[in-house]
């Protein structure tokens, strides 16, 4: 479906955003997770044909996106939601989606109208469809962005940090919408929110400093942290000894910490089952440069 080989991107000759990435992405929902500045957006933009890699090849559904023709072919089967979406403030939600549908090549007026109405319904904007975009809240604008990405029945959907600005209910709804889409096309979801991945992806990659440091199923990432996650209850003092505190919970008899690492025996630590977030943090710790 998508083949990325030895992909590198360097900005201004010195900033290495991607360093020799190899990825093979099949149908379904693929999660790309990593900290801010890891190179996720650069990779998404290369896959969407918006920027050229410095070296390496990218084939999207058989089209080489490093060539002009291949880029154009790939764009005709692509739905893309960028991290920051600019809108035309003086168009209404319905007009904006209609405009996008025209640009995406949905030429039949009736089919276009139907698609727009269905998507407005899906992202719960039907009631606000005739309001101008400048009157929309941040979350509503985000939903318009989601709807525009889904227009034209794309075969590949690239969504970059899609749940930023959405409330919990919208986030769940959006994840479900993406999962539904994954039955019909390949969905690449880039995020730094591990929870988004854990609920929807069956295949993921963790990227850090421009390199893929993990590739596999969410279960495999959880396994990485098995035996390293502990629950420690103290009277308030924070556990030390190189432990990473994942969460803190105030209890009536003290403070309960969820930590990663190897606690000292005096803590009476209890081993607990890791979550995907634990697996991710454990992995990042393993790959972070050692303190000087």
């Amino acid at each position: 479906m998508i083949e990325v080989t030895n992909l590198s991107k360097t900005y201004n000759g010195s900033v290495h955003a991607l360093r020799g990435i190899d990825l093979d992405i099949k149908n379904g929902m693929f999660g790309l997770v990593g900290p801010n500045g890891a190179g996720k957006t650069t990779l998404m933009r290369i896959l969407a044909g918006l920027i050229r890699p410095t070296t390496g090849t990218v084939r999207v559904l058989g089209h080489d996106v490093t060539t002009l023709q291949g880029k154009f072919e790939a764009k005709s089967i692509l739905g893309y939601l960028p991290q920051e979406l600019g809108l035309y403030p003086n168009l209404t939600g319905r007009e904006f989606l209609d405009y996008i549908a025209i640009l995406k090549g949905v030429t039949d007026k009736r089919a276009r109208r139907q698609q727009v109405e269905d998507l407005l319904e899906s992202v719960r904007l039907a009631d606000a469809a005739d309001r101008r975009l400048k009157t929309y809240s941040g979350g509503m604008k985000r939903r318009v962005g989601v709807a525009q990405a889904l227009l034209g029945s794309p075969k590949l959907l690239i969504v970059d940090e899609p749940t930023v600005g959405l409330d919990p209910e919208e986030r769940v709804r959006f994840r479900n919408l993406l999962s539904e889409m994954a039955g019909r096309c390949t969905v690449i979801l880039s995020t730094h929110i591990v929870e988004d991945i854990s609920h929807s992806c069956n295949d993921l990659a963790v990227i850090s400093q421009g390199q893929v440091i993990f590739r596999g199923a969410p279960g495999d990432l959880i396994t990485e942290a098995r035996g390293h996650v502990w629950s420690i209850t103290t009277q308030g003092e924070r556990p030390n000894g190189g432990l990473a505190v994942v969460s803190t919970l105030q209890m009536h008899d003290g403070v309960q910490y969820r930590v990663l690492g190897t606690p000292e025996p005096g803590y009476n630590a209890v081993s607990i089952e890791p979550s995907l977030e634990d697996g991710y943090i454990w992995l990042m710790r393993q790959h972070s440069p050692a303190p000087a």
Binding site: A48, I51, K75, L87, L91, I102
Partner: protein, 266 residues
Amino acid sequence: MILSQLRGMALYEFRLHWRGRLLVAVMLGFVLTVGLNVLLAGGNVRCDTSALTDLVVCRQGITITVTAVTLFLALPLSILLPILVAEVIPMDAQRGVRSWLDAMPLHTGTYLLGKLLGLWLGLAVALFVAMLITGALWWLATGALDILAYARIWVFGIGVVSIFNGGLGVLLSAGLTTRRRAILWNTALIVTLAGVVQGSDFLSYLNPLRMPIINYHMAVYAPMLSASPDAGELAILLRAFAGGIAGLMITFCTAWVWLRWRANRT
């Protein structure tokens, strides 16, 4: 698909211009300029004579006045047009619209042409409405207006100037990424060309105020000439049109090459 994209872009760009209110400002600028002149002229331009010979002479005089005032509209146009064209392509980049627009199956040429058509459609409607309103003003003030001559000066005078200059402005600012930069760039262009190029035979066709077109109309309607243009005057007009079209085409190709090169380089 390309035709459908062009049509869609033209219609939505037109809608965006209209709702952005700058076109209304252009229209109001025209109406106010003419209205002010009508007020200043007062009763001096009325044909209240019953003698036929006097009426013909009077009408000729009115046509000359109306022509001069209408061509004077190039001034508010040259002030407002840089702001209007800066809204077209540079604002797409400034608003972040390009972040998703570049991911569409849209050719660079289609994008440029769609943007141009949208602006031209908007200008055409604004000019038409302004022509009707100012025509009514002149009619009320003079009582005798040569409607054909009046329409001709709008269509082949200020209309052509707007279309040529608007198109040039859009294309020349296609590579810019902020509205402010585009306004400055287009204003500088108008000031430079209008000031420096004046008088030079060939370069005057590059003049954003389109002096050949304006000179033609002034010559045709000058009192010493007849109302019908001779072959020499028409040749000036045709050369001005050809110069405008050639200028647009060359600029279109340059903008197209530049945008393609930049897209391929990023």
